[in-house]
Symmetry: C2
Subunit: 300 residues, 2 copies
């Protein structure tokens, strides 16, 4: 057991040009762990409500995901209703958010897991992320994700938290909103000055930019012709990234390049199906097959 993630476990209603799905298992910690579990044991710190279907906890556990710190709160599970339009799959339109048990959530992690070395603070209120981080005993490597909502309403907490993490992951819109910079290289440098040594800017269908003081690189996305549902793509990307890093136990340039390739591949599977339809059945052999194809695609 080497990786812990705090974030949301949700019930999603999602509408895309491919259809409409109700009560899907979703949330940042759920998507993250469905991806990271391919690389390393992963421990989920999250809360669900009384209404959370037993089949979903069984499903996650069946994938080898550790749910010892998945709390069952007194209230309804967090719900997100969203929509994607054909013209812009990079932007999720939030139709409704019902916080439910998230409203008063204080993350708890079992004492036996407080010394996990790799921590990912997946998208959730930055004060919840900070509370979990405070409970950990000298983590070796901490990654952080967020979203526009928290940039808008809890910027101060988010900036304080950024000073305490090694890696910050943002999409292009978030990076621009947080820094005021249009140029993404300038935005990455500005984020790096706010604390994290490593900055990753995800550009959806346009790939990813990696920035650190010593090295910088960029890859295109894996070419997906039919995007079905991008919900959780960023979390799935982060799961592949952190999963690989925690297994590699290194944070040098070569390791980051490899990790980002895996992250890209995992993210590409995610968007090809609703919810976890394409990531749940994944095996490393399927991942490696697509990775070989991708390496050929981007080779010189």
């Amino acid at each position: 057991m080497s990786l812990a993630v705090v974030g949301t476990v949700a019930l999603d209603n999602v509408k895309t040009p491919s259809g409409f799905k109700q009560d899907m298992l979703g949330g940042s910690a759920a998507h993250f762990s469905m991806s990271a579990r391919l690389f390393t044991p992963v421990h989920v710190v999250a809360v669900v409500g009384r209404d959370f279907p037993e089949k979903y906890t069984k499903f996650l556990r069946g994938k080898g995901i550790n749910l010892a710190s998945l709390e069952r709160g007194d209230g309804p599970t967090f719900r997100w209703d969203g929509e994607y339009k054909k013209e812009d799959f990079n932007t999720a339109l939030t139709l409704a958010t019902r916080l439910g048990v998230l409203e008063s959530y204080v993350p708890k992690i079992s004492p036996a897991h407080r010394d996990l070395p790799y921590i990912f603070l997946a998208n959730i209120d930055p004060e919840v992320q900070a509370a979990l981080l405070r409970k950990m005993i000298s983590p070796r490597f901490v990654g952080l994700d967020s979203m526009n909502l928290w940039i808008n309403i809890k910027k101060k907490s988010l900036l304080a938290l950024m000073r305490k993490v090694h890696l910050f992951v943002a999409n292009d819109g978030e990076a621009r909103a947080l820094t005021g910079e249009t140029n993404l290289i300038k935005a990455a440098k500005s984020l790096r000055r706010r604390g994290p040594k490593f900055v990753i800017i995800k550009k959806g269908e346009h790939g990813v930019l990696f920035y650190s003081d010593r090295f910088m690189f960029s890859y295109p996305a894996y070419p997906v012709e039919t995007v079905v549902d991008p919900t959780g793509a960023g979390d799935t990307f982060a799961g592949g990234l952190m999963g690989f890093l925690s297994r590699a136990k290194k944070v040098d340039e070569k390791t980051f390049r490899q990790a980002i390739v895996y992250a890209t591949i995992l993210g590409s599977f995610n968007v090809e199906g609703f919810g976890m339809a394409k990531t749940a059945p994944l095996t490393m052999s399927l991942v490696h097959q697509r990775r070989d194809h991708f390496l050929k695609f981007i080779s010189i």
Copy 2:
């Protein structure tokens, strides 16, 4: 002499967040040839007006660009006034267009140059492009670029021309407008069905997608932190591409990958200065220096 380009030679007034420049040498054929001349002799087929400054013809000739088919028409030179906003450097806002001598232009190429094997139909009225192509004697390889204006007002002529070329180059907006497809891989496939065996979709700061039936690849852009003026970046890209292809005399996958890397590098220089400020002083040694840096940037 192996490459001919038909397109515009213009006088540009350009406003960007970096400043405002008047009466710059511009136009699709001018930017194209300033880039292609690094790889191969290039022959410009275009028209300028009575007011076209002698210093600009001297300047082009001084760069080794062949102006035997640069006609001096009876009227003012084509002028373009444009602006780029900080928020979206990928989109040029046209403030004014004065066609001048372009209005009645019929391309003429000297008989001695009708058998040039590599032809690029740079952005200009598709009927002018077609007229030039009809004058060429069995060209080996023909590339075509266009713009939203012609997609809107001369779509039929453009589609007819597409059936006669080997390579079609478009930016993402144009590819979407021409095909009605949002997904760029679907858009590339749709363009390929309209004739050209090879399709290149330029995505500005997000790099490029190459599509053909047998192979497909993608590269990110060279990371430019300060974009000064993107005018002519697409033409400069195409000049590097066609220049390299005409020197290589092959159109296999390896050659295309190399050509697109050169095209990317040339385009990156273009955006770093107004007009041709950064491309005019270029030597192959400067190009190779940046190319080495780029190959490291995108390596795995």
